[in-house]
Symmetry: C2
Subunit: 394 residues, 2 copies
């Protein structure tokens, strides 16, 4: 079996491992079981659409991480992860969606065999795909283990991006810029939403400038007319209508690294409500991005935005941004820092955020966002698409 084509140097994976082990030591965790697919990929390079099944990466204090998953996906681990075959373990297929047995029982047996039957083990209690049944089966198999919640441990390790990660995210930024250029070319009254999205996908996956497009952790989200009151609806074959707004939340993606971006288009002459909201949002974002520098906190950035839009009579009960980097379905947020009141995370060069300034009300909504890299100076916008309400004349 040939060596996989890794996306990072083995030394970078080893640096990530060292950091993770330090965090484990700080929190008294002997062994970490990471089930979040982005954490698994970040730790090992493993990349596959296998989070339909129970699987994990085990981080131990001695020795490389261990990949554990469904037998048929072990070959995927051999093709993508940096560890050798002794670190790739699996469960047989009859455990899959069985009423009689659970794959996490096999994991528990392995934990015992490795001598960790009385250890303190970190599990990602609130990460996607770590079900209650998974925990029950694991805990039953190793009743003397002390389990500790480690949901955010690896996620916090991921927050500062390396040069190569930044390179991938800049590539993703080029891709999403191209996606919006394509939208602007074809968005016209009468066009079907599904035809627009088909073109978005074509541009997204083809990629740009040698950066091929990976699948986004979330599909294109659309809010047209009354549907713009909801932030997370998808498309149908409904036609684009004149004298209506439509927003998109899209992401360019390269090697699992995301650059999300939202833009709102108005077909026709925008109502004063939209123009006022645009003014408020753009002024708010300027104020917030002034604060998006090392030494500020996430709360500083969020507060600057909320204060401006409140002056315009607009409220936003939701957070106004979150850390981004690599992601797997269903989400591209890293689940560490958020731009919200109460989040005192201090910004550092190398962090990246989707400044998610969107506003949604009873019968309308507007999204104009920016994905930014915190630098030593002013934040760098990862995409380069005009930050404004885009008017399509018709």
């Amino acid at each position: 079996m040939t060596m996989p084509e890794l996306r990072f140097e083995v030394s970078e994976y080893e640096t990530r491992l060292t950091g993770t082990r330090q965090a484990m030591q700080k929190t008294g965790i002997d062994v970490l079981i990471a089930t979040d697919p982005a954490n698994m990929a970040w730790l090992t390079g493993y990349d596959g659409w296998s989070f339909t099944q129970h699987q994990c990466v085990i981080v131990r204090m001695d020795g490389p991480p261990i990949w554990f998953g469904r037998e048929m996906d072990a070959n995927g681990a051999r093709r993508t992860a940096y560890m050798d075959d002794s670190c790739i373990r699996s469960f047989a297929d009859y455990y899959v969606q069985s009423d009689q047995c659970h794959p996490m029982t096999v994991l528990g047996q392995m934990v015992a065999d490795e001598g960790w039957g009385s250890a303190t083990i970190g599990v990602e209690k609130d990460s996607y795909y770590f079900t209650h049944a998974a925990f029950e089966a694991l805990a039953a198999a190793v009743p003397n283990v002390t389990f500790k919640d480690a949901t955010r441990l690896v996620k916090w390790q991921r927050i500062i991006k390396s040069p190569r990660e930044i390179e991938y995210m800049r590539g993703a930024g080029k891709i999403v810029t191209a996606m919006y250029k394509r939208v602007a070319e074809i968005l016209r009254p009468g066009a079907k939403q599904s035809d627009i999205v088909a073109e978005i996908y074509q541009t997204a996956i083809r990629g740009v400038d040698g950066f091929w497009g990976d699948y986004p952790s979330a599909v294109p989200l659309i809010g047209a007319g009354l549907d713009a009151s909801a932030p997370h609806l998808t498309w149908s074959d409904r036609p684009i209508r004149a004298n209506e707004s439509i927003f998109f939340e899209l992401a360019g993606v390269h090697k699992r690294y995301h650059c999300p971006l939202s833009r709102t288009f108005y077909l026709g002459k925008p109502s004063q409500k939209f123009l006022d909201a645009e003014k408020a949002i753009l002024e708010g974002m300027e104020a917030a991005l002034e604060k998006a520098v090392p030494g500020s906190t996430c709360e500083d950035v969020a507060g600057a935005y909320y204060r401006v839009i409140e002056r315009y009579g607009l409220i936003k009960p939701s957070r106004t941004g979150y850390s981004i980097g690599m992601g797997y379905p269903p989400a591209w947020g890293e689940h560490s820092a958020s731009f919200r009141m109460g989040d005192h995370t201090e910004l550092t060069s190398g962090m990246a955020f989707h400044f998610m300034s969107g506003l949604w009300y009873d019968d309308w909504g507007i999204e104009i966002t920016e994905s930014i890299l915190i630098t030593r100076g002013r934040p760098e916008c990862l995409a380069l698409y005009p930050r404004k309400l885009i008017i399509i004349e018709c």
Copy 2:
């Protein structure tokens, strides 16, 4: 707020509710909390990319189902679900990815307020997105509730398709047929995998014959050359190579209903190993599909396939099919019946399966599958693409 455009008659949702309540009664469950997004959609019509957050549909013995989720997504429920506003409840945004509090605590409070604080409540312990932390928070909020596992309850309710569901799946079958026709048009040595996938998406989302394309629960899966040893890898910009096989696992999708289909292409003159495997698979599928009639069991179908391929010296340690219908990421399988030894589910007209005959070995793999509808007679193939190894001359 206008009435949402429902995908099924309200009477069909009410029939589903009746069946679900009967199943609850049989298993002693007073209240059901359904967290699987496909179950939520099947019960209420709710459709949104909000399974990034904790959310659920509550089925009670009196009154319509209740949708519960993030505040900003409640508007999505108002746009897509059939129940009125009194059945749409939510939690505030500060509960999202907070270290201090959990949205399921709010759900627990609601359960208590509804008078269910000592009830027997079914939860989907092993469904995607129902995390261990979610259960912990819920259980802590209502300590006198008896929880029972109901992971498969709604999934088994979904196994027999209604006429309209079948209509959507037939539409999905037309879409996936068109997707493979497009692949055959453009698959050539030197073409980039990403460019092929870009075209697949364009065809998939445009749709066919008035059936617009919805997003698939899983992205296109590809196995080229050595990567064909793994069933669940995705693409890169690697070029298609001559004298190599490449399989795709794709799905056409309409209104969340899936028609999956896998095909293997060989660029050049196939090796004898591939021709022998094709022969075995096709003969095995013929034998298995002969059994895919009412009265047979899933084990009968699976056994017929395994016996044939074993005669050819091939083994398949994994199940050879699963129930299909509606789906949300990360998977399109319904998690009820599977074509495997030990599954004694009796086939009935209206069931649908992806006959997943794929074989993966150390350094090669081949997938030629079929999505079928069980009828009163012979099974109906939902897609109409030649069932064979597709040879591309070059």
